[in-house]
């Protein structure tokens, strides 16, 4: 039987990314990771109206999904995508490599689907950004095979999860 992921597990997963950012000496690397982390936190917390409030993306960013070729172009479309998707998707572990254009890495995503099941997927991702670490393109390469973990209630209601993550969002928002 698979152990259920709790709100604490989700918060700790994000705190590991926060630590990764804080341990980096290069301001660009710290900023790029901060922007990615804040963007992802806001999507998981369901704070879609704030997605582009904190200087984490350029004016016209995009998402590209290489499993189906779909491209989501622009801030409004990205916010709408998250609002309408109905999937809670959390990177529970990841490792990245940095360069001057941004960073890329591999992660394990746990996704709570609208039908009440939990799915685990390995995924490569790329955060392309400008010289201020702001997303120009977020690119997803999900593995073709998923691990289905069966029926699983969401770790918390949307409001509870958002409340649990709120202090972390504030810390990351202020990260220099």
């Amino acid at each position: 039987m698979t152990q259920q992921t709790s709100t604490d597990d989700i918060r700790r997963a994000f705190e590991r990314i926060e630590q990764d950012a804080l341990q980096r000496d290069a301001a660009f690397e710290r900023r790029a990771l901060r922007n990615y982390l804040l963007h992802t936190l806001l999507t998981v917390a369901g704070r879609h109206d704030e997605l582009f409030e904190y200087d984490t993306a350029v004016a016209d960013p995009d998402y590209v999904f290489f499993d189906n070729g779909r491209r989501v172009q622009g801030r409004d479309a990205i916010a709408r995508y998250h609002r309408d998707e109905g999937v809670l998707s959390v990177p529970i572990d990841q490792r990245v490599a940095m360069s001057h254009w941004g960073f890329a890495g591999e992660q394990t995503l746990e996704a709570w689907l609208p039908d009440g099941t939990l799915r685990r997927t390995r995924c490569a991702f790329v955060w392309r950004c400008d010289d201020r670490g702001r997303m120009t393109s977020l690119r997803f390469y999900p593995a073709a095979r998923h691990e289905s973990l069966g029926a699983a209630p969401r770790p918390a209601g949307g409001a509870t999860l958002a409340k649990d993550l709120a202090p972390l969002v504030e810390r990351v928002r202020k990260m220099q």
Binding site: F66, D67, N68, G69, R95, V96, A97, M98, S99, W101, G102, F103, A104, G105, E106, R122, C123, A124, V126, R128, R139, Y141, P142, A143, A144, R145
Partner: protein
């Protein structure tokens, strides 16, 4: 099928120049462990495209039992025997003739990531086998253009532990005249001097372990 008409066909000269540009970027790296990983991958990619895959298993480049994971298909080649079988199959179909561009390379203590567009050169028969689309058996060249992503792990000595690949599920295709063919034999010859230099560089620059690195 609609063919992509925007692809600028690769030449042997451009293929050669593309590797030299990558090498220039590697030589600017300051972290010895990460530079060793990058040099290892540079040599690995040259050997693979030149069809000299047995050299990839040199114990200075690769661990004894590497694991290749193709996440886009779910295929896993676990250990040297299976990985060698994969390369043998690729070489027998001339599938090693690959050109790439739009490189986004990044290296960390644990390994590297690379997003690029890979261009796989194929005969008409290979194109039909891959796509299911019947085409005339003539001397034209078919090229598959596919965004690809790699995240390969390395050990503390900078040896590759395996290949981890994620290919886009959607690709586009070009059909080129026979003058744009890249023959495996000529590619092998063009890349040979680069491989000689890459081996010399690699062996002349033993890196210390990744002190304080995170794997």
């Amino acid at each position: 099928m609609d063919f992509d008409n925007s692809f600028v066909p690769a030449t042997y000269e451009e293929m050669h120049a593309s590797y030299l540009r990558r090498l220039a970027g590697i030589n600017r790296m300051t972290n010895p462990h990460r530079r060793k990983i990058a040099r290892n991958y540079y040599l690995h990619s040259l050997l693979e495209v030149a069809g000299r895959y047995p050299e990839i298993f040199d114990p200075r480049l690769t661990v004894d039992e590497p694991v290749y994971i193709f996440h886009h298909t779910g295929a896993v080649f676990d250990g040297r025997t299976e990985v060698e079988g994969f390369y043998r199959t690729m070489a027998e179909s001339d599938g090693n003739v690959i050109y790439s561009d739009d490189h986004h390379f990044a290296v960390a203590d644990w390994g590297f990531t690379l997003e690029q567009v890979s261009h796989f050169y194929m005969t008409p028969a290979e194109f039909t086998r891959k796509t299911g689309v019947a085409v005339e058996e003539d001397d034209r060249v078919y090229v598959e253009h596919r965004p690809t992503m790699r995240a390969w792990p390395y050990d503390m000595e900078g040896r590759m532990r395996g290949e981890t690949l994620y290919y886009a599920q959607v690709a586009t295709y070009s059909r080129l005249g026979p003058e744009h063919a890249l023959s495996p034999e000529r590619v092998k010859a063009v890349l040979a001097p680069l491989i000689d230099d890459a081996w010399s560089d690699f062996l002349a620059n033993p890196a210390p372990g990744a002190e304080g690195g995170q794997h």
